[in-house]
């Protein structure tokens, strides 16, 4: 990682102290850090363990106090029952349809727009880019009602169009991120492609896009989780239960089966599983992406 030591690491000291005191000090510091990290890891993990444990308890053992961490017996049928009570599979399918179109839109539009902002000189470019950044600060509440009005007027209520179409017009956050990255790619590459007779679109497609691969991955992964967790959008725009996404469907589940916590936790576990799997595969990109967001002003 080649990074500066943080305050706690012990670099080679310029003024050597007694070597053995130093070693003990390092040891104690590390011990404290490890302990702190283990406690914090437990704080992160225990809610999940609690969720899974509850999801496997029978209706009677669920209410035992003090609670048992390991259910006896394992009630696997909670899961089939959760699927039976609510069409989780259908909700999941609906969510994935929206995911597909939003991710496609976000990747296409943000790549084109970021390319435009980083590779061409045109009048007002800087001002327009400032506006891109400024739109990140517009609170959602201000645009929510007019958007509803607009989509209602277009006859898009109870379709997936309000949830998918806006993604084809770029997201300021991703445009910013991709432009940051594009500016690290030398212009010589573009020049060389131009000399070989490529037009700007061919340059984008053949030269830039392959280099942008990791940025595109970040857009895909971030968009996936955003869409997956979005609750208000589907809540506002969808009426037909057959069209519900997982988020809205789950909320219905809570209000319908509010006290059957084992079933609710089985539903939650199922709903979180895709995100956990995605996270497992994409954590490097996610964490790296967030960390390199470039908050350097």
């Amino acid at each position: 990682m080649g990074t500066p030591s943080s305050i706690l690491t012990t670099d080679e000291p310029i003024h050597p102290v007694n070597r053995s005191t130093r070693r003990t000090r390092t040891f104690v510091a590390r011990l404290v850090v490890y302990l702190a990290m283990i406690v914090l890891s437990l704080a992160v993990l225990i809610p999940f363990i609690w969720m899974i444990s509850t999801s496997l308890k029978s209706s009677s053992t669920m209410w035992s106090f003090p609670p048992k961490w390991i259910p006896k017996p394992f009630e696997w049928k909670n899961y089939s029952q959760a699927f039976h009570e609510v069409p989780l599979a259908r909700y999941f399918g609906n969510t994935m349809i929206i995911e597909f179109f939003v991710i496609l839109g976000q990747v296409l539009s943000c790549t084109l727009i970021a390319y435009g902002f980083s590779r061409f000189r045109f009048r007002g470019r800087e001002v327009l880019f400032m506006i891109v950044l400024a739109t990140m600060l517009i609170p959602q509440q201000v645009t929510m009602i007019p958007m509803f009005e607009m989509f209602k007027w277009l006859g898009w209520i109870n379709t997936y169009l309000p949830l998918t179409v806006p993604s084809y017009f770029g997201n300021p956050f991703y445009i910013f991120m991709m432009r940051q990255f594009l500016q690290t790619i030398p212009l010589d590459l573009d020049e060389a492609a131009k000399i070989d007779g490529a037009n700007s679109f061919q340059t984008l497609w053949r030269i830039i896009v392959p280099l942008l691969r990791s940025s595109i991955m970040i857009v895909i992964v971030f968009t996936f989780t955003d869409v997956y967790n979005d609750f208000m959008g589907p809540l506002i725009y969808l009426d037909d239960p057959n069209k519900f996404t997982l988020a809205v469907g789950l909320e219905n589940f809570v209000s319908g089966f509010g006290t059957e916590w084992n079933l609710l936790m089985a539903g939650s576990t199922v709903a979180l599983l895709p995100l956990l799997i995605l996270y497992y595969f994409a954590q490097k990109q996610l964490i790296g992406g967030i960390a390199s967001m470039g908050l350097k002003g």
Binding site: L112, G116, R123, Q141, S200, G258
Partner: protein
Amino acid sequence: MQATRRSKLVRNEGLTGYLYILPWIIGFLAFSAFPILDSLYLSFNHWDIYQPPHWVGLANYRLLFRDPLFYKSLEVTLTYSAMYIPLSLVLGLLISLMLNLKIKGIGIFRTLFYLPSVISGVAVSMLWMWIFNKDYGLINYLLSLVGIKGPDWLNNPHWIVPVYVIMGLWGVGGSAVLFLGGLQNIPKHLYEAAQIDGASVWQRFWKITLPQLTPTIFFLLLTGIVGSFQVFTSAYVINGRGAGGPDNAGLFYMLYLFNQAFQQYNMGYASAMAWIGGLISMILAVIVYRTQNKWVYYEADLSNKGGRS
């Protein structure tokens, strides 16, 4: 001739550039500029979504400033930010310092701490409802182990906001990773110079690490303010279909706005709320923004101040 050809080239380049950013221009007009103006217009109208909007002047605003629930929702939201933002900054920074250490298994911890910030939404709200259940929940069980009788978190007006703060802090790994990025961008020579000068660990933290992280703190402050005005999903689910919770102590601003708009169909009133809420968060953001000269250090400054003295 040369000159005209070049200007034509430049013009072509400009045109192509505009073409590439055209989707954004259309999107900006349709999904930002128009909605903002329309929202202002709607706030002077009565609109129940069935009948076309009709002009009522300042009536919505007059009603709003006499509405105790408006003040309540503002209070809930601001209390939440006053608790959540400082705590998340301190905790996020502490975690990032640990995550920046070169020790065994650090990758696992980084992965683990970031996990909760990826998963939000309904399923997680359901999980926390169960965790904070007064009789059978995990929190009160753990408290009972140390002899404390936990409160009825979700039905007690004093405890409901802290519950949201705790839920929010569970996802603090998100800010920790941002801080981590900031930490890794600090030039190493600053520490080397400080060490030569014999600066202690604490001095190095206060004089180098913290100032260098101010852009991240600034960013998190801004997004934290805007973000607390957007708290919705958890409040909607936990209070049960958008009710306000005990004594409306869980009536976040966005939740009240949503109720007015999509449950009562007071679209004009909700638009007025949107504008006032937007203005308040904007004013807070501007205050933070205005103070940045005083405490946010950017790289340009440091190239003069840093280095070896």
